[in-house]
C-alpha cells in the first residue's frame, strides 16, 4: 500500500529549527562578547546579560532543538509505522502554537517576565500554552501509534515515547506556581524543596529534550543514511531501559555541598556515575554501526557530523559523571567549566546530530540534490574548530577560576581576595570562547546558504548517492 506522507509539516519544522538556531546562537555570541566587553550591554534592559541569557538557553533548547526533534518525529514516525500522522490538522495546530510560544517566550523574557528557574523561566500563561501543544503532540503521536500498520515499534520510537511521557511529568511538576498577576507567579515550593525539584527538572530537561530524542534521531538517521542495520539490538534494549531509569535520579548532582539533604546529594552522585554505562552503550551502538561504513566517513559531511556528535556525546557523558563526584564538583561547580561541559553536549552532540538531520532531510523534502557537498564539508570543519575552541577555552577558564577561588598564600590568607582580579584573568579565555561560538554560527550560516540554494532547485530530483563512488 502506498502511504501518503505529510512532508509539508516536516519542511516547516526544518525551517523553524534553522530560524531559532540562528536567533539563539546569535544571542549566545552576543552575551559571550558581553562578558569580555561589558559596554555591549549598552545600559539597556533589553540587551543586558541577565535578560538575554535565558532567551539564549530557551531558544536553543525549546526553539532549535525541539524544532528538529519535531521535524524528525513527523518525518520518521509515520515511515516507521507505515502510517501517516493521525491528524494533519493537529500537526499544524501544534506547529503554530509551538512557534507562537517561542516568540512570546523571547518577548516576555526580554521584558523581564521570568519564574527564574533555569530552563523553566516562562511565566504561567506560557506554561499553559506549552502544556496545550505538548498534549496535542502526544495525542497525535499516540493515535498514530494506535493506528500503525507496522506492528513492531523500532528503537528510535522508544526514545520518542520516553521523551513525550517524561517531559510532560517534569514540566508540570516543576512549574506549579501561584499567579499573582497576568505575568507574575511564585513557585509553590520554597528553598531546598524548590531547589531539589528544579534540578530534578533541570537535569532531566537535559536528559529528555537534549538526549533521548537526539538518540532517537541517531537510531533513525544513522542506519538510513549508511544503509546499515544498527550494530546491536540487544545493546539498544539494555541501554534504553537503563538510561531512562537511571537518568531521572541524577538531578541532585547540581546541588552537591548545598543545604539539600545529604541523602539526596548522594543519590544524585551515585546515579550520575552509573549513567556512564547506558550513555556509553548508546554511543558504542552508534560508533559500532558507523564503523561498518568507515571509508564513507571520509567523504560524507553528514556522516562526519554524526561522528562528531557521537564523540561529543561520549565525552560529555563521561565528563558529566566525573563532575558529579563531590571532590571534582567542589572545583567545577559555579565555574565556566560547567558552561563548557554543557556546550560540548549542545554544540557537539545536539547541534551535530541536528545538522546531520538537516543535511539528510533537506534533499529528500525538497526533492533536490544538495547544492554543494563541498560547502557542507567546509561547514563541518569550521563548526568542529568552533566547538574545540569553545570547549578547551572554557575548561581553561573554569579550572583557572576554581583554583583561584580556593588559593591560599603562605600566610594562610586567600591569595586572590579581590574578585575583579580573578574575573580579569578569565577574559582571554572568554574571548576565545566567543570566537569559537562565532565560528560555529559561521558554519551554520554556510549551511543555510547551502540549504537555500538546494531549495531553489526543488523538484529537480534527489537520488541518494554513495559518496564513496562520487567525486
Amino acid at each position: 500500500m502506498e502511504v501518503n506522507y505529510d512532508n509539508q509539516i516536516v519542511r516547516w519544522y526544518v525551517k523553524s529549527a534553522i530560524l531559532w538556531g540562528v536567533v539563539a546562537m546569535l544571542i549566545g555570541i552576543w552575551i559571550a562578547f558581553e562578558m569580555v566587553f561589558p559596554v555591549l550591554n549598552f545600559n539597556s534592559p533589553y540587551l543586558s546579560f541577565g535578560r538575554l541569557r535565558p532567551i539564549h538557553t530557551n531558544g536553543i533548547i525549546f526553539g532549535f532543538t525541539l524544532s528538529i526533534v519535531f521535524a524528525t518525529v513527523f518525518y520518521a514516525v509515520p515511515r516507521l509505522f507505515k502510517t501517516p500522522m493521525w491528524s494533519p490538522l493537529l500537526s499544524r495546530l501544534q506547529f503554530w502554537l509551538y512557534n507562537l510560544t517561542i516568540v512570546l517566550a523571547a518577548v516576555t523574557l526580554a521584558l523581564g517576565y521570568t519564574q527564574s528557574k533555569e530552563y523553566a523561566e516562562l511565566e504561567w500563561p506560557l506554561d499553559i500554552l506549552v502544556v496545550i501543544w505538548w498534549v496535542i503532540f502526544a495525542v497525535n503521536f499516540f493515535m498514530t501509534m494506535a493506528k500503525r500498520q507496522e506492528k513492531h515499534i523500532y528503537v528510535a520510537v522508544w526514545f520518542f515515547i520516553a521523551t513525550i511521557v517524561t517531559i510532560a511529568v517534569l514540566y508540570i511538576v516543576n512549574n506549579i506556581a501561584l499567579p499573582s498577576g497576568l505575568l507574575k507567579s511564585y513557585s509553590v515550593y520554597s528553598g531546598v524543596t524548590d531547589a531539589n525539584i528544579q534540578w530534578w527538572y533541570g537535569h532531566n530537561a537535559v536528559a529528555f529534550v537534549l538526549t533521548t530524542p537526539i538518540l532517537g534521531m541517531m537510531y533513525y538517521y544513522l542506519p538510513k543514511h549508511t544503509n546499515l542495520p544498527i550494530f546491536s539490538h540487544r545493546l539498544s534494549i539494555l541501554h534504553f531501559w537503563s538510561l531512562i531509569f537511571i537518568y531521572i535520579w541524577a538531578g541532585p548532582h547540581h546541588l552537591l555541598y548545598s543545604p539539600v539533604p545529604e541523602w539526596a546529594q548522594t543519590l544524585g552522585m551515585v546515579f550520575s556515575l552509573a549513567l556512564i554505562a547506558p550513555s556509553w552503550g548508546g554511543m558504542l551502538n552508534g560508533f559500532l554501526t558507523l564503523s561498518q561504513a568507515k571509508e564513507k566517513v571520509r567523504t560524507d559531511a553528514t556522516l562526519k557530523f554524526m561522528l562528531v556528535a557521537l564523540t561529543f556525546y561520549g565525552m560529555s557523558t563521561l565528563e558529566g559523571p566525573i563532575m558529579s563526584i563531590r571532590a571534582v564538583n567542589s572545583l567545577s561547580h559555579n565555574t565556566d567549566w560547567t558552561i563548557g561541559h554543557v556546550h560540548g553536549g549542545a554544540l557537539g552532540w545536539v547541534a551535530g546530530m541536528a545538522i546531520a538531520a538537516i543535511y539528510y532531510l533537506v534533499p529528500r523534502l525538497w526533492n533536490a540534490k544538495l547544492y554543494s557537498e563541498k560547502l557542507a564539508e567546509t561547514h563541518f570543519w569550521i563548526a568542529t574548530l568552533g566547538i574545540l575552541l569553545y570547549y578547551v577555552s572554557m575548561w581553561a577558564s573554569g579550572i583557572t577560576e576554581g583554583l583561584m577561588w580556593r588559593a591560599y598564600d603562605a600566610s594562610g590568607m586567600l591569595q586572590y581576595p579581590n574578585w575583579i582580579e580573578i574575573v580579569q584573568n578569565l577574559t582571554p579565555f572568554r574571548f576565545v570562547r566567543a570566537i569559537g561560538g562565532t565560528l560555529f554560527l559561521t558554519g551554520f550560516c554556510i549551511m543555510i546558504y547551502n540549504v537555500y540554494k538546494t531549495i531553489q532547485n526543488k523538484g529537480s530530483g534527489f537520488v541518494p548517492t554513495d559518496l564513496r563512488e562520487g567525486a
Binding site: 541577565g50 535578560r51 523581564g112 499573582s180 531539589n196 540487544r234 565555574t335
Partner: protein, 221 residues
C-alpha cells in the same frame, strides 16, 4: 545475524509490538526515581528551621522581584558551600559564627530559591554583612566600573528611574501568604508606606541588605 535471542531480547519482545504496554513501562521506569527523591521533602522534615529568619518586608520583596526580573541569578549565586575558601571569602567580617556556610533554614521563605548555578560575580547570600552600605550599592548599580574598576557587570541605571507598583507588590504578598509565608495584614498594608516614592533600585538595595541579615550572630554586650 543473531539467531539465538538472549534473555533481554525475549523480555523486550513482549512489549516491542505493544504500544500501550511499552508506554506504561516507560512511565513506571521514570517514576521510580521521581517517587524516591521528591516526596520525602513533603512527607518528612528536611529543613532545620532558624527562628531568627523573617520573611521579606514589602520593599525587600519588591527588590527580590526586581532581582528576578533582571536575571541577577544568572551571574550571582546565593549559596555558600561549606569550604574554608568560600566562608573566608564570603564571611570576611566573621559575622556568622563557627560554621558560616548556607543552611536550609535561611531559605524557607524563598519562592523560588535563587541559588543560581554560575558564580560570574561574587556570592550574595550574606551580602548584608559583606557590604552594608546602601550608598555603595547605588553607585555600583548605576555604574559597576565606578566602584569596581575592571568589573564586567552590566550597568543598571534604569532601576533608579522606574517606580514600584504598590498594588502588584500587595498582590504578590497575598499570593505568598497563600503559599505559607506568614504575612500579616499589617505587613501587607505597610507596602503603601515602604514603597511610596521608592524606585526599583531602592528596592533591590533593600533586598541585598536583607540577604543574610537575619542570621548574623549578635555581638555580645
Amino acid at each position: 545475524m543473531e539467531n539465538q535471542k538472549n534473555f533481554y531480547e525475549k523480555l523486550n519482545e513482549k512489549v516491542e509490538s505493544k504500544g500501550f504496554a511499552f508506554t506504561v513501562l516507560v512511565t513506571v521506569a521514570i517514576l521510580i526515581g521521581t517517587l524516591v527523591e521528591l516526596p520525602p521533602f513533603f512527607l518528612t522534615k528536611q529543613v532545620e528551621p532558624i527562628e531568627s529568619v523573617k520573611p521579606y518586608n514589602a520593599l525587600e520583596l519588591a527588590g527580590r522581584d526586581v532581582y528576578q526580573k533582571e536575571g541577577c541569578f544568572n551571574c550571582h549565586t546565593q549559596m555558600i558551600r561549606p569550604f574554608k575558601w568560600e566562608t573566608d571569602r564570603f564571611d570576611p567580617n566573621k559575622a556568622y559564627g563557627p560554621d558560616p556556610y548556607s543552611k536550609a533554614g535561611e531559605y524557607v521563605y524563598d519562592h523560588p530559591f535563587l541559588w543560581g548555578s554560575k558564580r560570574t560575580g561574587p556570592d550574595l547570600a550574606h551580602e548584608a554583612s559583606i557590604r552594608p552600605s546602601a550608598a555603595w550599592h547605588k553607585k555600583h548599580l548605576i555604574n559597576p566600573r565606578e566602584t569596581s574598576p575592571g568589573s564586567i557587570m552590566p550597568a543598571y541605571p534604569w532601576l533608579f528611574e522606574n517606580e514600584l507598583d504598590i498594588e502588584q507588590t500587595k498582590a504578590n504578598m497575598r499570593a505568598l501568604r497563600a503559599l505559607g509565608v506568614p504575612y500579616t495584614d499589617e505587613d501587607i498594608a505597610a507596602a503603601d508606606k515602604l514603597l511610596k516614592g521608592k524606585t526599583e533600585g531602592d528596592a533591590v538595595i533593600a533586598y541585598l541588605l536583607k540577604l543574610g541579615r537575619d542570621t548574623m550572630v549578635q555581638e555580645e554586650e
